[in-house]
Amino acid sequence: MIRIALLWEDAMTSRFDHAEVLAALWRLGAGEELLPTSHGILDRALKDCLDKLPEMLRNELTFGITSVGLRCYEIPDILLAAQEALLTSEPNPTYLETAVTLNEDRARQIVLSHGLSTDQARKIGRELKASVDRIRRDFSLDAGQPTAA
């Protein structure tokens, strides 16, 4: 039998790692609040908090102006990865936002694995949540609004 050695370089971090860290930060900072997934709200909040994000996420995210305004190019993939990994609830038809299914214990283990203490992660998550709230106010978008995409 031929043994085959693998010479792939393992990617430093995968989209699943990014999804895990993002979901964990949100869970620790925003508790049961829903994570926004539309209108570029999360994209803008991430840009606002970019300097405070853990390095593995900060180095990965890039932003640009699209036909619908500012967007983070990696967010669609990261949110899809979060769904694939069951870290967020299944999309409802309007899907303005999603519930993070990750519990606090698991969220803490994830951030600790990436070198953040729970307190540090909670602080970042709270800043992200505050940024989301501010952007929502600026846009006058109500999270419960039933008709937005």
Binding site: M1, V68, E90, S113
Partner: protein, 826 residues
């Protein structure tokens, strides 16, 4: 831009230049010779768009290998093996996109004319002929970055390092793949506004458009008699259209016609793929086109959520700019398009046989590179041959002077595709199939499923790690077949099975999970009030599509039909051993092997020491997944947590890192009991002054441990049978505790390796996954740990992957610093 991008990607530029120069050589010779009379307009008849008229310069490019190469590159990769009539190629699609551009331009022109009739004060510019010509050229060239097997090849091009032999440094010589990444990054930073990061095939297409030869063709004024703008401008417009740029060099509102959420590319492939596959998706192209519009974007009519567009409008010459969008009344057609696309993915692109064929093609390319000991150059992948010829080349049936193929295992995969002997499904996996132990709360069940599934999904993300997992399954399948043959179970069949597995190698055991494409709305809608904002769906089709695909998305282990039963067993064992999961019976409905594993087979595998009895139980009667160890399971005392609030979570995470899946429920409970006893033991150790006193020997340590376990009512027995050490203790029939005695140690965490697992017999077992080492040592002067610092987590010293060592390092005869004395005295 052209010069900068080419300088940033020298190897890719060099290879693309050489390729395109060869492809365009006949045309350049004609141009040089002044044979322009040969370029006449043509008409082609198309089942989707009717008659498509081609302009002379389009015909000139079409009649070169640059585009004729696409004739045998099938639009749907290997789907024609399942949908026989879906054998249309990229050339047909390319011409179709020109037809779609024409229809779209006509529809938009009608919209613009109507708007201008009704709004005399602000006229929308009509689509100029020069724009139409440039868009048609972009349509003609938009897919030239596709290689054989179409989209199936893209993940192969993104694999950084190849499958290889142990000495494979020479395989890394080619760096055009790295250049591809560079160009993608550069394109992203070059354009002020871009809807998405260009794909691999779009990036190659951009490099083709920028190649020296095509630049020279585009510069020919005698060929492009009606260009209407400079050759450089045309080139920039084509590139912007191919990557769907919104603002930047060559970009305009019309770029979106080639690459955007509603573009000519999609309009063609949705209709064409459904037509050729014989699938009805009910997509109303005419209605959708009738609702496309050129929006006049001003700061006061665009929604606040697109504030950058307000800014752009405010900074524009007329305080406004144009952008392609949709009327709110077109939502129904837009939804229909997106949903139709989802059904096409489900029925056509993700059909399990199509997946098997594409997974074989991807594996084949990687194995062929490994077999010949050299990565493919771009010129070999973009050889001027169709998919079938590429397969025959890789099968060794034919040769090509520009491609070196060494006969190896790739040939069998190529023959398998050519003869339609596709791999079969032996094992199915999905997050929702993960079976949980009974009696758990619904929250615990979901949390555990999430924890276990995240390990699987990360592991199978990428062709490289899938190969490694398939290899593990293959190797175990051989051992299983041999064990069953040795036990006299279907011995002839099993012997043949083992021989066949040896012959096919791990290359034909393929773990596969279909890729999903992340979608997001990138188009604005005009509402009756005149406001421009994101489409307000009461039902979001992109999100619905993602949910639909995720719900149905199932991973498979593919293998040849004859070995499927044994690969199925090996897959189940590997998934239990590596990820701690068993799949519910529901998963069996997706494969064509026996529903459950015969008990006599399991007994034979236990006798052959391939699995232990616990693993056998979990593969048959229990069929439960393992439980990931949670912080609460570790039962830390509050006093320990008080000083370090993250202690339990950090230790749980570290244990999780070493245990592939988790522990069986009984072992989780036993671990908690033993740890609780040990925390009390450590407390007593510190509080009784043992830290500063001498300790006679290892036996003295064990006496104390046994006493501690006894106080707690834990059952202990001599651990020598399990761990091999005379002074080991086996607690609660589950956890092995070794005690060690050591002199002075600077780093007690690494002082003495655990021995408990050295005698472990089974390839995959669920017994004895945790060993606890209690080590007494003399700390050097000045080193004095806190209680939590006494506890460390390690991989078991034998290097096995599914075992964890929890170590308690307890100081004795220590010189306690004055500040610590109060604590040490308790």
């Amino acid at each position: 831009m052209r010069r900068r991008l080419r300088e940033k990607a020298p190897e890719l530029s060099k290879q693309v230049d050489a390729l395109v120069a060869e492809w365009l050589k006949p045309l350049l010779e004609k141009l040089d010779a002044g044979r322009f009379a040969e370029f006449r307009p043509k008409q082609v008849h198309d089942p989707i768009w009717g008659t498509i008229e081609l302009l002379p310069w389009e015909v000139a490019l079409l009649d070169t290998p640059l585009l004729q190469r696409m004739r045998g590159v099938r639009q749907l990769g290997l789907a024609q093996l399942v949908f026989p009539s879906a054998s249309h190629d990229r050339l047909e699609h390319t011409l179709g996109v020109i037809g779609a551009v024409e229809e779209t331009v006509r529809a938009l022109s009608r919209q613009i004319a109507r708007w201008n009739r009704e709004n005399q004060t602000r006229l929308v510019p009509e689509i100029a002929e020069k724009d139409r010509y440039a868009l048609r050229l972009a349509a003609l060239l938009h897919d030239v970055g596709h290689g054989p097997f179409s989209h199936a090849l893209e993940p192969v091009l993104e694999v950084r390092s190849p499958l290889g032999t142990e000495d494979a440094t020479h395989l890394h010589a080619s760096n055009w793949r790295e250049d591809l990444r560079t160009v993608r990054r550069e394109l992203k930073s070059t354009y002020v506004s871009l809807n998405d990061v260009p794909s691999v095939s779009e990036t190659i297409a951009v490099m083709v458009v920028m190649s020296a030869a095509l630049t020279k063709v585009l510069a020919s004024d005698r060929l492009f008699t009606d260009r209407g703008r400079s050759a450089d401008e045309v080139q920039a417009v084509i590139i912007a259209a191919i990557i769907g740029a919104v603002e930047g060099p060559g970009a305009s509102h019309l770029s979106a016609l080639i690459s955007s959420q509603i573009d000519a590319d999609k309009l063609d492939y949705l209709a064409r793929d459904a037509y050729h596959a014989g699938l009805e998706i009910g997509f109303d192209t005419d209605r959708l086109l009738a609702r496309l519009e050129v929006h006049y974007v001003r700061a006061d009519n665009v929604d606040a959520s697109a504030m950058e567009l307000r800014k752009r409008a405010a900074e524009s010459a007329d305080k406004a700019f144009y952008q392609l969008g949709i009327a709110a009344s077109g939502f129904g057609s837009f939804e229909q398009m997106l949903i139709g696309r989802t059904f096409l993915y489900d029925r056509l692109y993700h059909h399990h046989k199509v997946r098997a064929a594409e997974a074989m093609a991807q594996r084949l390319m990687l194995v062929a590179e490994r077999d010949r000991g050299q990565r493919f150059q771009l010129s070999e992948i973009f050889l001027r041959v169709g998919d079938d010829t590429m397969l025959r080349l890789l099968a060794g049936e034919v040769t090509h002077p520009q491609m070196t193929i060494v006969h190896g295992r790739a040939a069998a995969l190529a023959h398998g595709i050519l003869d339609r002997e596709l791999l079969h499904r032996a094992f199915a996996f999905r997050g929702r199939f993960i079976n949980s132990p009974p009696g758990l709360s619904s929250d615990r069940t979901n949390d555990n499923r999430l924890a276990l599934w995240s390990r699987i999904i990360k592991r199978v993300d990428g062709l490289a790690s899938r190969f490694e997992l398939g290899q593990e399954i293959h190797d175990l399948a051989i051992r299983c077949a041999r064990a069953l043959a040795a036990a006299g179970i279907n011995d002839e069949q099993m012997t043949a099975c083992a021989a066949q597995l040896e012959a096919i190698g791990p290359e034909q055991v393929i773990v596969d999970l279909p890729p999903l494409k992340a979608e997001a709305i990138r188009i604005l809608a005009r509402y009756p009030t005149g406001q421009l904002k994101l489409p307000e769906f009461s039902f979001n089709p992109t999100k619905w599509s993602a949910a639909y695909e995720l719900q149905k998305r199932t991973g498979y282990v593919f293998c040849p039909c004859d070995v499927a039963p044994i690969v199925a067993i090996a897959s189940k064992i590997v998934f239990l051993g590596r990820f701690g999961v068993t799949m519910a019976k529901e998963a069996d409905g997706y494969i064509k092997t026996t529903q459950s594993i015969d008990q006599t087979w399991l007994e034979a595998l236990v006798d052959a020491q391939l699995i232990d009895t616990l693993a056998a139980e979990h593969l048959s009667s229990k069929r439960y997944s393992l439980l990931a160890v949670r912080p609460d399971d570790l039962r830390f005392p509050d006093t320990w947590i008080h000083d370090d609030p993250d202690l339990a979570h950090r230790i749980a995470a570290e244990i999780g890192k070493h245990l592939n899946g988790g522990l069986i429920a009984e072992h989780v409970a036993a671990l908690g009991n033993v740890l609780a006893a040990l925390y009390a033991f450590v407390d007593t150790w510190f509080e009784s002054g043992q830290v500063t006193r001498d300790l006679a020997d290892e036996a003295a340590l064990q006496d104390r441990l046994r006493t501690c376990f006894g106080y707690r009512g834990l059952k202990t027995e001599e651990g020598s049978k399990v761990g091999g050490g005379a002074l080991d203790v086996f607690v609660d029939d589950a956890i092995l505790v070794e005690n060690k005695f050591h002199g002075t140690a600077q780093t007690p965490a690494a002082a003495v390796p655990a021995a408990g697992m050295q005698g472990r017999r089974y390839a995959i077992g669920l017994n004895s996954q945790v060993v606890i080492v209690v080590l007494a040592y003399m700390p050097p002067p000045g080193a004095f740990p806190t209680k939590p610092q006494c506890m460390t987590i390690h991989r078991v010293s034998t290097g096995e992957k599914n075992r964890v060592e929890i170590r308690f390092t307890l100081p004795y005869r220590a010189v306690v610093p004055s500040s610590e004395k109060a604590d040490a005295r308790g």
